[in-house]
């Protein structure tokens, strides 16, 4: 097996296995979903900007992917093996992506963004491999897999989103695993963060209710 393919399988397995294990744990969220549009999602902050790199190597401002559609933005790193963290977030985005494939409003009104906070390892090529997840539904909402040119370019984006990432101190593995808080951001069409999810409330059905609530809003809401 070519080394590159082996590496690809390694990290996909590392990502997928814990997520699947948790998804199959049989422990459901147990509550009725709120009716979209019947509750408020007040503005928490403005969605931050910064230069990011797409899988084809194109550089673009992050703000160009957090306006005009309802955006679900997840910070990840592909080496993450914590079932509660990045694999979980990617699993939820995959579910939203699949649901959007059969719904014209979602396909045209929503985008998904997975942005790496590990630019040294998560190159555009590596993110392109990861984007295989998004290719199974060509009619679904667009799903962008992004990285940045360097930690220096990334730092202000993380700071402005309040995304905590620390390098774990391990002298045997200086480039080792990252200590981070799971955060997924829901951004409205005006580029404002309207909800934040972490491992305790990242329920795909709930995120979808929030997405539909934002889609029901007028173009220039004043929540």
């Amino acid at each position: 097996m070519p080394m590159k393919l082996l590496l690809l399988f390694t990290w996909i397995a590392a990502v997928a296995l814990p997520w699947m294990a948790e998804a199959n744990s049989g422990l459901p969220y147990d509550y009725p979903l709120p009716e979209p549009g019947t509750y408020a999602l007040p503005v928490i902050q403005d969605a931050a900007d910064g230069e990011v790199i797409a899988t084809d190597g194109r550089r673009l401002p992050l703000r160009s992917l957090t306006r005009d559609r309802v955006t679900v933005l997840s910070f990840i790193y592909t080496r993450c093996t914590s079932a509660r963290a990045c694999p979980r977030a990617t699993g939820v985005l995959a579910r939203l992506h699949e649901w959007s494939a059969g719904d014209r409003d979602l396909a045209s009104g929503v985008r998904l963004v997975s942005l790496s906070f590990d630019p040294q390892v998560d190159t555009p090529d590596r993110m392109a491999g990861y984007a295989a997840l998004a290719r199974s539904h060509p009619k679904a909402a667009p799903w962008h897999f992004l990285t940045t040119a360097s930690r220096e370019q990334l730092a202000p984006i993380l700071r402005d989103y309040g995304q905590a990432v620390d390098r774990k101190e391990d002298p045997r593995d200086p480039e080792g695993t990252l200590h981070h808080a799971l955060r997924v951001f829901l951004v409205d069409r005006e580029g404002r963060v309207r909800n934040i999810y972490n491992s305790s409330n990242l329920d795909a059905r709930l995120v979808m209710a929030d997405i539909r609530s934002l889609l029901l809003e007028e173009r220039a809401p004043n929540p």
Partner: protein
């Protein structure tokens, strides 16, 4: 301890095609799954206090620092409220000693606080003046730095005053309040701020007769604690009293029949995601701290009523409605003023600290409807907060209730005391006399460490 019970479950649903794709890739990658699985399963042991927000990043292993939010005392030291950091790392040469303290300037009725969900900030509230002091506990956890203050809480929130607790939510904090700017009585609100310190929303507590609200006759508009059970999308809030009472001498309040009417007698069940009240439960006698059980199949929470010395259980019945039941009496005749409770991570043991007689009472609550007193022990002449470690082996106590409600004379002991718990008895480990240290009256205690989990 059932650590896994704190992990919120995910919804179970038929596999999507994305999952199918991942499954296919997994099959192809099967020779290397073992290594990946081992990496994923090498979980670190987590610790922490048991009564923190489920949205909060957890400490890995033993707590190292005890952060103590301390009321200033006129004529003692600099007289100001301060954050006191105590070394609680076993084996440390400074174990049980004050490592650091940072005054915030002035006396603000220092009371409760809490971390942001990433545990990088510690927000500490003043009940009088409604100021919030935000410390950076990430850069140097042993020497937190006062990063900024919120000085316009009353105007920003539309009139909520007396910020009480700080409860971590994803990217934001929930701040239950005690009073309001209009009449300084008990009607109050829950307030949200972003982790960056930006005001988000105010949710006023429901009032009697609110249409469409189950049990609205029991509503009184009062507030105290608010805590969430994510699995059920339920938030519970409790009720205490307003600024006019908590800033008065306790004897004066206790002797004034009109003042005694101004205490909460309710708990509110909220739809957490929508922040809408669903049901009001009658729980007379000022229900204070709320402790949700951690177990996956334990849809219940305990509280204790300060004025009536009772333990109450809020639980979901078979029909999906919530019920409040009085399940035990705390202490004997006359009441012992239970002021804080701490539920063990396995949901079996409840520590109750009683300001009135300075005792900690320990209940076996493995049958939550029938708590059984298994131990009581004197901690001091007055005792207030109790914080228990996740492994159940360490229990910390502080002494101060409110500046004008603390006991006087020789009974006005002001301490932090640490104990070990072996399942039957509390064994003293260290004690700190904060009057002798010139530091003030210790109230809320929170755990800190240099290592955090995800």
């Amino acid at each position: 301890m059932n650590r896994s019970s704190s992990i919120p479950p995910v919804e179970s649903a038929p596999a999507t095609s994305a999952q199918s794709l991942i499954r296919r890739l997994n099959v192809l990658a099967s020779p290397i799954l073992v290594a990946a699985g081992l990496a994923a399963s090498s979980a670190t042991a987590f610790a922490d206090e048991t009564c923190s927000s489920p949205y909060l990043a957890r400490i890995e292993g033993q707590e190292e620092f005890l952060y103590v939010w301390t009321l200033g005392v006129e004529g003692l030291g600099d007289g100001s409220d301060k954050l006191v950091v105590v070394d609680v790392k076993p084996g440390s040469p400074k174990y049980g000693k004050v490592l650091h303290h940072r005054s915030v300037g002035g006396r603000h009725e220092a009371h409760h606080g809490g971390f942001t969900d990433d545990r990088r900030q510690l927000w500490l509230c003043g009940l009088d003046g409604s100021r919030i002091f935000i410390f950076d506990v990430h850069t140097d956890p042993g020497q937190p730095r006062l990063a900024r203050t919120i000085d316009d809480f009353e105007t920003a929130t539309g009139g909520a005053v007396g910020p009480h607790g700080v409860y971590a939510l994803p990217g934001r904090v929930l701040i239950p309040c005690l009073s309001n700017a209009r009449d300084r009585g008990g009607r109050t609100a829950l307030v949200e701020y972003s982790n960056a310190g930006r005001y988000i929303a105010t949710h006023w507590m429901p009032l009697p007769g609110q249409s469409g609200l189950d049990g609205s006759d029991h509503a009184d508009g009062y507030g105290y604690d608010a805590r969430v059970l994510p699995r059920k999308n339920v938030m519970l809030s409790s009720s205490f009293t307003g600024w006019r009472n908590y800033t008065q001498d306790f004897a004066r309040v206790a002797g004034d029949p009109e003042a005694l009417k101004q205490f909460g007698n309710s708990m509110v069940v909220w739809d957490f995601h929508t922040r809408q009240p669903r049901q009001v439960l009658r729980v007379p006698g000022a229900p204070l701290e709320i402790r949700w059980a951690w177990g996956d199949r334990h849809p219940y929470a305990f509280t204790a009523t300060a004025l009536t010395s009772k333990l109450w259980l809020c639980h979901e019945d078979g029909a999906g409605r919530w019920q409040a039941s009085e399940v035990a009496t705390i202490g004997g005749e006359g009441g012992v003023l239970p002021v804080d409770i701490s539920l063990s991570a396995d949901d079996r043991t409840l520590f109750v600290s009683c300001f009135g007689d300075g005792k900690c009472r320990v209940f076996d609550v493995s049958d939550p409807h029938h708590p059984r007193l298994i131990h009581d022990q004197n901690i001091g002449r007055q005792v207030n907060m109790v914080s228990q470690s996740w492994d159940g082996q360490r229990v910390y106590f502080s002494s101060s209730l409110l500046a004008r409600w603390d006991k006087t004379g020789e009974d006005n002991e002001q301490f932090v005391r640490a104990y070990s718990w072996d399942g039957s008895r509390l064994q003293p480990q260290f004690g700190l006399d904060l009057t002798a240290e010139g530091l003030g009256r210790p109230h809320h205690m929170l755990f800190g460490a240099t290592r955090m989990g995800r």
